[in-house]
């Protein structure tokens, strides 16, 4: 991994962000009602609309509007929310940080379940564990998260009453209560990813275990434990990194639904509220932040891949 490669990747991320910002800007531009109509309502007089457009700068050419938005955004200023009249950036960042915590917890939980399950399924191929893993995978993939979430809510919050149904408490302020509020959303998000990773890891492990170098390791007389953990695991886990990185894309999308169901004030819920109230600055900031997160996570996964697989040298 060379410095040149890293610079090129950062350049690529910058390029991606430019494209995303243009697309986000274009979409909000293409909405049927503009900001002035949103604020003044359907019955506003044309004169009042024109006055407000002039004040908001909506009568300027499109490229100038884009520039007036993107230049402060580069400096962390995404404008004032049309709904709350507060600066957009701090609110959206706080929401993003809650979502990221939810996503990180979900990914961690997913790995804790999926890695042992995938390995066990591959090693006990066609056995009972493989069958269970297959069943869990199919269920996880085929059930949409709003169904899983609802079922979890009915069981654990309603029938058993073990966990709170909705709401958010910051774990930093109140650890136990915070974690209790996070359990159900985290499980919901993790479940679909478990399916992806189990299936991937299972087939990778089967391939690796059938490879020449694993046969060679057996023929060296190494104990099965050493063959599995020293020789097979790393090679089987490598492709999983890519799947997890791709799944981050899913999480960012899926989180919108999950946050809505569990009433968690994350970036997804913030986006829904922003869209419902046509709060353009918030929509733009939220979409950009999500795209940026995805780009950074992919870069991190590439770096992790290179650190684990010495064959990969980014030049």
């Amino acid at each position: 991994m060379s410095l040149l490669w890293l610079m090129r990747r950062l350049l690529l991320i910058a390029y991606t962000m430019i494209v995303v910002s243009v697309v986000v800007f274009a979409i909000t531009e293409a909405l049927p009602a503009d900001a002035a109509t949103m604020i003044l309502g359907q019955n506003a007089t044309p004169a009042a609309l024109a006055a407000l457009r002039a004040r908001l700068g909506l009568d300027a050419p499109v490229w100038l509007q884009y520039w007036r938005w993107v230049w402060p955004a580069l400096h962390g200023n995404f404008g004032i929310s049309m709904r709350t009249n507060l600066p957009v950036a701090p609110a959206m960042l706080a929401a993003l940080s809650r979502s990221l915590m939810l996503a990180a917890a979900a990914i961690l939980l997913m790995l804790l379940i999926a890695v042992p399950l995938g390995l066990a399924a591959a090693l006990g191929r066609s056995g009972p564990i493989d069958l269970i893993a297959g069943l869990v995978s199919y269920l996880g993939v085929s059930l949409p998260e709003f169904v899983t979430a609802t079922m979890l809510l009915i069981l654990f919050a309603d029938r058993l009453g073990w966990l709170p149904a909705t709401g958010y408490v910051s774990p930093a302020r109140h650890l136990v209560d915070g974690v209790r509020h996070l359990v159900l959303p985290v499980v919901t998000v993790a479940l679909v990813m478990v399916a992806h990773v189990v299936r991937m890891l299972r087939s990778e492990t089967i391939d690796v275990m059938a490879s020449d170098y694993i046969r060679a390791a057996h023929l060296k007389g190494l104990p099965p434990r050493v063959v599995l953990f020293r020789h097979a695991l790393r090679n089987a886990l490598l492709p999983v990194i890519t799947v997890v990185a791709l799944d981050v894309g899913y999480v960012l999308g899926g989180i919108i639904v999950v946050e809505q169901i569990f009433a968690i004030p994350g970036i997804g819920r913030a986006l829904i509220v922003a869209i419902q109230s046509r709060d353009l600055p918030s929509i733009q900031a939220g979409a950009l932040m999500m795209a940026g997160t995805y780009a950074v996570v992919n870069l991190l996964s590439d770096i992790a891949y290179a650190l684990l697989d010495k064959r990969i040298r980014y030049e």
Partner: protein
């Protein structure tokens, strides 16, 4: 003296959907201390299954039908897994065919070597490392300290195989199984590995089983040679005699199939006129994107001319640019420089029109990847026929030309043997009635006996159609049998171009001479 390894009436079946398949039938072999026994057979003869049976790592559908495999008098068949593990790597070790796949890509080489000694000799990491470095020196690794920390992709094929050999010898095993240890390597590297093995044989007073499909190679290395065919040992003799005076017709057939430079198979001369010429042809891989990337030069300024009806041989190690050159001429890779075809100049692949692409055909090394697995042979052959104005009615004739029954037209590639698949690929090329056929290592993945039949076929087709061949191979002895001229490629450059008869002379490039030395002619009969 009692035998190190003794196999007695050993039989093995594989359970398949179509019933039991007999793989080994009443095999009996013995290897004395310090002796190397050669085991020669074609693919599918059961030689690899025998190795797996000795190592006790048989596939799950294997059904042993009786017999004994004794190591130092102890029957390996009666041992449980923990006791087998104590034997594997300690008392029997194995050197594999392809070091590129038998080494773990994500583990440093030194670790893969020292772990055997940690496991069997109970050494701690430090002493195991010291031992490993000493072993690496004994397999003639020049910088053991550096190799120790490298990963397999960072070293050459020869160095990888040396590490594999060091690993096999690490615990001074009683028996070493050598499974085609030079087949996956370049000619020169393979020759050096064989030299190394010969030296280590005495140093470690090694007993071994050398498995190969190449009778000539085995009879140079082993003390005795056993020939296996369809799971049966058909003949067993001291190495010097078996090649010179085989008793069985099958062994005779194997011996005859080995290319011998002194036995020319082509007697007529090439034509006078130039068919395909190239001047300053270069091929580069990769192109600069965003920031200038490193561009790899595959072929650098190569010039030569192939005459009508000529068999133009080309030789060189892997990565020397042979295949890139072949692909550029076939119009698959972009190139720089000039190509002339029957006097017409071609500067870019785009200028290779239908007439050129029809006249210049290519057959690839691996028919498994060059034949569409979902198409029947008839479909595979019909496309070039239609493309070049003939009708599918010619399919039976095409198949007959390559000595395949017309009924094979209905088969899928996986229903054919390796040799048959390559015949289909040749038939596909001849469907276009080419004037030049590029053969890119087309016999490299075939057994020696199958290779000799494919070569016979190519020569017969040339007699009928007057086709010229650009014949790329790593087998110099084969080229000396069939080629009019031999071109030698080294690191993308053409370093030598000789009439075949002049190869034995003094006026050849140093690298060519190395190649000649590394490809000794078989012991003549």
């Amino acid at each position: 003296m009692s035998a190190v390894l003794e196999i007695e009436n050993y039989s093995l079946d594989y359970a398949t959907a179509a019933g039991n398949l007999h793989v080994l039938d009443q095999v009996s072999l013995a290897i004395a201390p310090g002796e190397v026994l050669g085991l020669v057979g074609e693919s599918g003869s059961g030689k690899s299954s025998l190795a797996a049976a000795i190592m006790r790592l048989l596939p799950t559908n294997a059904r042993e039908q009786g017999g004994a495999i004794r190591l130092g008098g102890e029957n390996l068949r009666s041992l449980d897994q923990p006791r087998l593990r104590a034997i594997r790597g300690r008392r029997i070790a194995m050197v594999f065919q392809d070091p590129a796949t038998s080494l773990n890509p994500t583990l440093p080489l030194g670790r893969q070597l020292s772990e055997v000694m940690e496991c069997h000799l109970g050494l701690a990491r430090g002493p195991a490392r010291t031992e490993a470095l000493a072993l690496l020196r004994r397999v003639e690794i020049t910088d053991p300290e550096a190799i120790f920390h490298r990963f397999p992709h960072e070293v050459s094929g020869g160095e990888k195989q040396r590490v594999v050999i060091a690993t096999a010898l690490a615990c001074h095993p009683e028996l070493v199984l050598l499974d085609e240890p030079t087949t996956a390597l370049d000619v020169l590297t393979g020759a050096r590995i064989l030299d190394l093995l010969s030296r280590l044989r005495t140093e470690f007073s090694m007993s071994g089983l050398y498995i190969s499909h190449d009778l000539s190679l085995v009879s140079r290395f082993a003390d005795r040679v056993a020939v296996i065919r369809r799971g049966r040992i058909v003949e067993e003799q001291p190495a010097p005699t078996i090649f010179r005076a085989p008793l069985e017709p099958y062994t005779r057939q194997l011996a005859d199939a080995v290319p011998r430079p002194e036995r020319r198979l082509v007697t007529d001369a090439a034509g006078e006129n130039e068919l395909l010429g190239l001047t300053g042809l270069s091929v580069r891989h990769g192109r600069p994107v965003l920031l200038p990337n490193r561009v790899k030069i595959a072929v650098e300024a190569v010039s030569f001319a192939i005459r009508e009806r000529e068999i133009f041989g080309m030789i060189g190690e892997s990565g020397s640019g042979k295949s890139s050159l072949a692909r550029a001429l076939a119009g698959i890779l972009p190139f720089r420089g000039e190509v002339r075809f029957v006097g017409r100049s071609i500067a870019r692949p785009a200028e290779m029109d239908r007439a050129y692409r029809r006249a210049v055909q290519i057959v690839f090394q691996n028919p498994d990847s060059s034949l569409n697995p979902r198409h029947r042979v008839a479909q595979i052959l019909a496309r070039p026929l239609r493309l070049f104005g003939a009708t599918p009615a010619e399919i039976p004739r095409l198949l007959e030309d390559v000595h395949l029954p017309a009924s094979h037209a209905r088969r899928f590639p996986h229903e054919l043997s390796g040799g048959e698949k390559q015949r289909v690929a040749i038939a596909r090329a001849f469907a276009a009635r080419p004037r030049l056929l590029i053969c890119d290592e087309i016999t490299a993945s075939l057994d020696v006996s199958v290779q000799s039949r494919v070569i016979e076929l190519l020569l017969a087709l040339r007699r009928t159609h007057g086709t010229a061949y650009l014949f790329i191979t790593h087998d110099l002895n084969l080229l000396r049998q069939i080629a009019h001229r031999v071109a030698v490629m080294y690191r993308g450059r053409l370093v030598d171009l000789q009439y075949t008869a002049a190869l034995g002379g003094t006026d050849v490039h140093a690298y060519t001479r190395d190649l000649i030395t590394a490809s000794p002619a078989p012991v003549s009969g």
